[in-house]
């Protein structure tokens, strides 16, 4: 059975189904992270003293990670644009670079977390509310990075075969993977100042 409207737009929504589905999913993601931002406000305002991010966190490393994620967002959208221009080789290049930036983000995060655990006494989620919400929010964000890498990696590798048989459908898939990836970048754009700088 053929799945309808995965290339052509549905007349009533003006969108192909996958795109609308991803936007609904992103709406649920806004609520997921929104709940945690809400908890952050609640925790921060409920105490007399709230530590500054620099008391516990490494701002230069987080700035580097911000630059990695922004760069990965650009290469992701460029991989979609390459497909629109029928340039599969450039798609592969940009997609690969996106994965490398994502990996770089995770490596930096690994060093950041390791430094917290190695500190004497160790900085753990149970140490205080600041570190609790820091590990919860950044941990959830890291899980989203891992999920994104899995999907981008699939379309960079075995999933890219679809380009030979259904190029338009493949281009649409890259567009909606990109929407998810940009959302992950967008969350970090707020996490960075909220946790590290303010």
């Amino acid at each position: 059975m053929e799945i309808p409207f995965n290339v052509k737009e549905r007349p009533d929504t003006g969108l192909y189904n996958g795109k609308l589905g991803v936007w609904f999913f992103l709406a649920s993601e806004v609520m997921l992270f929104g709940g945690l931002f809400s908890a952050y406000i609640f925790l921060r305002n409920g105490v007399e003293y709230w530590p500054h991010g620099t008391d516990y966190l490494d701002v230069p490393l987080a700035t580097l990670n911000t630059l990695f994620l922004i760069s990965s967002s650009v290469t992701m959208v460029m991989s979609w644009a390459s497909l629109k221009l029928n340039d599969f080789k450039k798609f592969k290049l940009y997609c690969g670079v996106t994965l490398l930036f994502a990996l770089a983000f995770l490596v930096v995060k690994y060093f950041e977390y390791s430094a917290k655990f190695a500190h004497d006494p160790p900085y753990l989620p149970s140490t205080n509310n600041f570190l609790g919400i820091y590990f919860t929010m950044t941990g959830l964000h890291v899980l989203h990075i891992l999920g994104g890498m899995l999907v981008i990696g699939y379309y960079f590798g075995p999933g890219s075969k679809m380009w030979n048989t259904e190029p338009e459908r493949f281009t649409n898939r890259i567009e909606i993977v990109g929407l998810y990836w940009h959302f992950v970048d967008l969350v970090w754009i707020f996490l960075f100042p909220v946790l590290y700088l303010l």
Binding site: G14, A27, V30, G178, F190
Partner: protein
Amino acid sequence: MSPEEVKHHIKTYIIVFVALMFLTVVTVAISYLDIGVVPGIALGLFVASIKASLVACYFMHLIDERTTIYWTLIATAISFLILIFLPIGAMLAQARVY
């Protein structure tokens, strides 16, 4: 979308990329300003909102999207605001009790 339109989009992506890099530096610089906690938070979040708008409008193409998505996002934004203002409402209620 024609190849010419895509090429025009690519130019926009590069400009947005440079703007995002610059605003990241601005965000970090703001944290070193001695302007007090509340103005610091307000300014930091304002710059973050500009960055987020750039990503949403240009990388996610929200600047030129279908009405269905705009309605979905309006519903999401209302729900999100309720979620964010819940703790503030709770704090105000608590302040009235004590």
